[in-house]
Subunit: 282 residues, 2 copies
């Protein structure tokens, strides 16, 4: 059945949003809607304009016989600023302060709306990098990894601190947790990564960077490559950071003594990605 | 700036898809696009028709002053059938068989495309139920809980078998793992649930149902209510099931002896939800 432009625009928008970073040939749409390629091209030009104007992302055109369109999700500078300020406000609630100076984050990291924006923010940073997989460590990093993986449309893999019979053979490494100085073990199923793959490390919280460093060693064991490190929040740490090249959306400072206080501000994400985030608005 | 219909259709589609089960007042769209309510109503009628025709979901209209529109994601019978058959085919690969008759699922449960469909399938079942939170147990249930929570647009909470300093005070229960007959402990942060909430339990795999039963007791401890139980796959179990009211997308049968075999077929999901899934097509 031949379709009307309005129906095509709605269905194409849905189709593209569900498949970020995927090249869709024009012939696919042309067959799906029984419409001429020229009409499809016009439709895509309209979608491109609206996506740009509403800061949804970029609709990239790949010319030639093997070409098509590809939707690249992005976030604009205003929405990024707004989200980070809102999160800083929500983090700075003293009710979140747990014994030992830990911060309660599970409510935020279980809210679809929050995870969606975290995923968009982090995915925007790596839109031009070759990310084949997103890696995190169980448990609290998982929702972040899953959301980023959706926006980059690549699989995510979960490193574990405990051995599980449902993972099959694993590769393990020892690592030093910076904040406690203890040597611990982490492992990943052998089937999870292949040599040469580009891996993006994400986590909910980073203090000394020991856990992230462990994941980096694990990636080396697989002869894969660390593409980047992005965390939701970093905590203040009095000591040598084991990881220096990373971005954080937020920075949290806690005091858990006689006086309790929690201070949250923007991490280095906005500063590091300013030019990129402004690009979408231009 | 007054917008054209085509721009509105694209942006409204995106806006609605990102906010399932959320009532959006017509005045919101009318202001966002500086367009008359009558034009917005016509736009929504077009979106409603396309969503229905392409089996994306239902666009519900709530009349009156406090009214608006609400997008309810659904999956149609054909797409549900197709996805479950595809998964059964992928599960029945003997390479997935692990020592002890366990099945390797981490690749599937780390693939955005697969999680998206699992989320849509399970969310469709509960579109008319009052689900306030989705619950699962760490680690492998998390991606499923997150995906379902996206489509129902409610938070998800993670039960843990190990105690963590980052969860604050917890409520714990003991439970009997049906397959091993061991008594174990699981716990959930006190802040995760409130009395009276409706909770949907999801998990990746169920054998005897001991873990699911543990989650049910935990929900009782919070004076909350179990709305339903849905798992990705159920395994064959020679013994009394501890849970009888559940749905499974798949059913897996493994033999790990001298001869190794793995057999996968559709679970009871399709049969239980046939009428509901056919509704979208009508």
């Amino acid at each position: 059945m031949k379709t009307r432009r309005s129906d095509r625009l709605i269905d194409m928008t849905r189709y593209l949003l569900e498949r970020p970073h995927t090249l869709v040939p024009l012939t696919f749409f042309s067959q799906r809607y029984e419409s001429a390629k020229s009409s499809i091209s016009e439709d895509l030009a309209i979608i491109r304009r609206t996506f740009k104007q509403r800061q949804t992302g970029i609709l990239e055109t790949v010319p030639g016989a093997a070409g098509g369109v590809r939707y690249i999700p992005m976030i604009g500078i205003d929405e990024a600023n707004e989200f980070i300020s809102e999160m800083a406000g929500r983090l700075a609630d003293t009710d979140r302060l747990l014994p030992g100076g830990y911060v309660y984050l599970s409510d935020l990291l279980g809210t679809p709306e929050v995870l969606r924006q975290i995923g968009r923010l982090i995915a925007t940073q790596y839109l031009d990098s070759r990310v084949d997989a997103v890696m995190t460590v169980a448990t609290k990093g998982i929702p972040i990894a899953q959301s980023v993986s959706q926006y980059l449309n690549v699989p995510f893999v979960i490193v574990r601190r405990d051995s599980k019979v449902t993972e099959g053979s694993t590769v393990s490494v020892n690592y030093v947790s910076g904040s406690s100085d203890r040597v611990q073990k982490m492992e990943l199923s052998k089937r999870s990564l292949r040599a040469g793959e580009g891996v993006l490390i994400v986590d909910d919280f980073m203090k000394g960077g020991g856990t992230v460093n462990g994941m980096k060693s694990l990636i080396e064991e697989f002869d894969a490559e660390t593409v980047g490190v992005s965390v939701f929040a970093e905590g203040t740490f009095n000591g040598d950071h084991m990881v220096d090249d990373y971005t954080s959306l937020l920075k949290v400072d806690t005091v858990d003594g006689k006086e309790k206080s929690i201070h949250a501000a923007a991490g280095n994400y906005l500063q590091r990605n300013e030019d990129l985030l402004k690009e979408l608005g231009n």
